[in-house]
């Protein structure tokens, strides 16, 4: 009796919002720039058919995935290195603690001048901004690995690579994923801003085009695609996390944040 009413309650607010939006939009109580859900769906269908959606999606996806992978890869590698080797740590710590505090988007003009208006400037600034949260999380994760685990492995004669792949990486993995998740969120924010400020292709450009043509249904279609893309990437990351951390999640109460 309890369970169905709960899942019904979950749907009330989102559905009521959509219904009110549609209703007030149709009766003209809402300004025209808010469009209506059905018009947005129609616009989505329209840009799917004429291929505009796919070219915009392909370009945005290419930028965000490459930037994210480069930034995350570098962040994990350098972060693990900094966690293990004091020399690396002492070199990167001051730089990161200084740069971490600055919104990376402020560097966009410099990246635009360096790499031009095409893919390269977006990819590099996305990578740049993903690097920091991932670095901080993995550095911290390695340093907080239980010393007893390391001592036991050493005691049993584990060679360095076994130590790294069988002890350090597995116990650092949960924190690594937390950092990567923040990096992913940053990647989408930066992608959007970078595409809005200097770009000729991508989902953000789709949104501005809709805006300029006063086709607000198209603008919202672009917004919906962008939001869904960000949401799905997070879901994919969380699924990978659940696979990788299967053993560690088992038996513990997963946080409410799914």
């Amino acid at each position: 009796m309890k369970a169905p009413s709960r899942s019904v309650q979950h749907w009330i607010v989102p559905l009521a919002t959509l219904a009110a939006w549609e209703l007030f939009g149709r009766t003209g109580l809402l300004p025209r720039y808010l469009s209506t859900p059905t018009l947005i769906l129609a616009a989505l269908w329209e840009i799917t058919l004429d291929g505009e959606l796919f070219s915009a999606l392909a370009s945005s996806l290419y930028r965000v995935s490459l930037g994210f992978l480069l930034g995350t890869g570098a962040g994990v590698l350098v972060g693990l290195g900094a966690g293990r080797l004091p020399g690396v740590r002492h070199f990167f710590d001051p730089l990161v603690s200084f740069l971490y505090a600055i919104p990376k988007i402020a560097f966009l003009p410099i990246f635009l001048l360096l790499f031009g208006l095409g893919h390269a400037s977006k990819i590099s600034i996305i990578a740049f901004s993903c690097f920091f949260p991932v670095f901080v999380a993995s550095r911290h994760a390695v340093l907080s690995v239980n010393k007893v685990l390391i001592w036991s492995a050493q005691n049993m004669g584990a060679p360095p690579h076994t130590m790294f792949f069988r002890v350090i990486i597995p116990s650092a993995a949960p924190q690594l994923f937390a950092g990567i998740r923040i990096g992913l969120a940053h990647a989408f924010v930066i992608l959007f801003a970078a595409e809005l400020i200097g770009s000729k292709a991508g989902l953000a450009t789709l949104i501005t085009e809709g805006e300029e043509a006063a086709r607000f249904d198209l603008m919202f279609a672009g917004i919906v695609c962008f939001a869904v893309l960000g949401f799905l990437s997070d879901r994919v990351l969380m699924t990978i996390r659940r696979r990788v951390l299967r053993g560690q999640i088992m038996g513990t109460e997963e946080q409410v944040v799914r």
Binding site: R6, Q9, H10, W11, I12, V13, P14, P31, Y33, L34, H90, F91, F92, D93, P94, L95, F98, A101, I102, P103, I105, A106, F107, L108, P109, I110, L112, L113, L114, A185, F188, V189, F192, A193, L196, I197, L203, A204, I207, T208, E211, M219, F220, G222, I223, F226, A227, G230, F231, D234, R235, Q255, V256, V257, R258
Partner: protein, 255 residues
């Protein structure tokens, strides 16, 4: 004393080293000085624009927007999180919005905000409010939910009225989570304001960066970056000081 100086040097050498490399690259003409202005020029731009008040003016605008959005998000988000933590109906109604909406990149909605609130200050504050609301509500809601029922029972058992339970048990127990939510949200506020100012405005640090870069005055871009870093550091210290005051039973390194 010398060993202490050496240790500081060993821990911090990379910043002066990087600055030296920067200066050497510029002096040696290896990179275009237009793109990477010399440190003295960055410093000059910083001192000049602070002196004539331009940078202070834009910083004031950006900071007031960020703090306003952050403040409203805390003002509305915290009671909301408390209500979600206590009432099952409210929790069921709003949990999907906050937990499913959390990973959605809300920045995509900014164009809509400019239509609803105009391109000036109101849309920046409203959007900062939205971006700060999520971490504040989610983090402090988890804190409110995590309050041990045992504590509440104990207080009730000792005859505490509902109001006293709220004020003396429930809120203090959630306070550490509330502060970590605030600490996550504050830098987001600054990032979001600078970012939206870069997208479109005629005042604020984000605008200052954009306009300086279109004039190829990159020394001013770097000067603004330094100012943003200082602001963020100061605000973070302010939240930490508030936390130390209100959550005096929790040590600093636990947060």
């Amino acid at each position: 004393m010398t060993s202490r100086a050496l240790r500081i040097l060993a821990n911090w050498y990379s910043i002066p080293l990087l600055l030296l490399v920067w200066q050497a690259l510029v002096a040696g003409g290896i990179v275009e000085s237009r793109l990477l202005p010399s440190l003295t020029r960055v410093w000059g731009a910083l001192v000049n624009d602070i002196g004539n008040g331009v940078l202070l003016y834009h910083t004031g605008i950006t900071l007031s927007r960020a703090v306003a959005g952050f403040f409203f998000a805390a003002l509305i988000g915290l009671p909301f999180a408390a209500a979600m933590g206590r009432s099952e109906t409210i929790r069921n109604l709003f949990e999907p919005i906050f937990f499913l909406g959390y990973p959605v990149p809300k920045i995509a909605l900014f164009p809509v905000f400019t239509y609803v609130f105009g391109i000036g200050t109101p849309s920046k504050i409203a959007f900062t409010f939205l971006e700060c609301l999520y971490p504040i509500v989610v983090t402090s809601y988890l804190g409110f939910r995590g309050v041990q029922t045992r504590l509440i029972w104990t207080a009730q058992n000792m005859g505490a009225s509902p109001l006293v339970v709220w004020w003396r048990v429930f809120c203090p127990a959630a306070l550490p989570s509330i502060f970590s939510g605030l600490r996550i949200a504050l830098p987001i506020a600054i990032i979001v304001v600078v970012l939206t100012e870069m997208i479109g405005d005629s005042i604020g640090l984000g605008y200052y960066i954009t306009i300086s870069s279109t004039r190829f005055a990159f020394a001013n871009v770097y000067a603004a970056i330094v100012v943003i870093g200082v602001c963020r550091f100061v605000l973070d210290q302010a939240v930490l000081a508030l936390r130390a005051h209100f959550v005096h039973w929790q040590r600093d390194d636990q947060g």
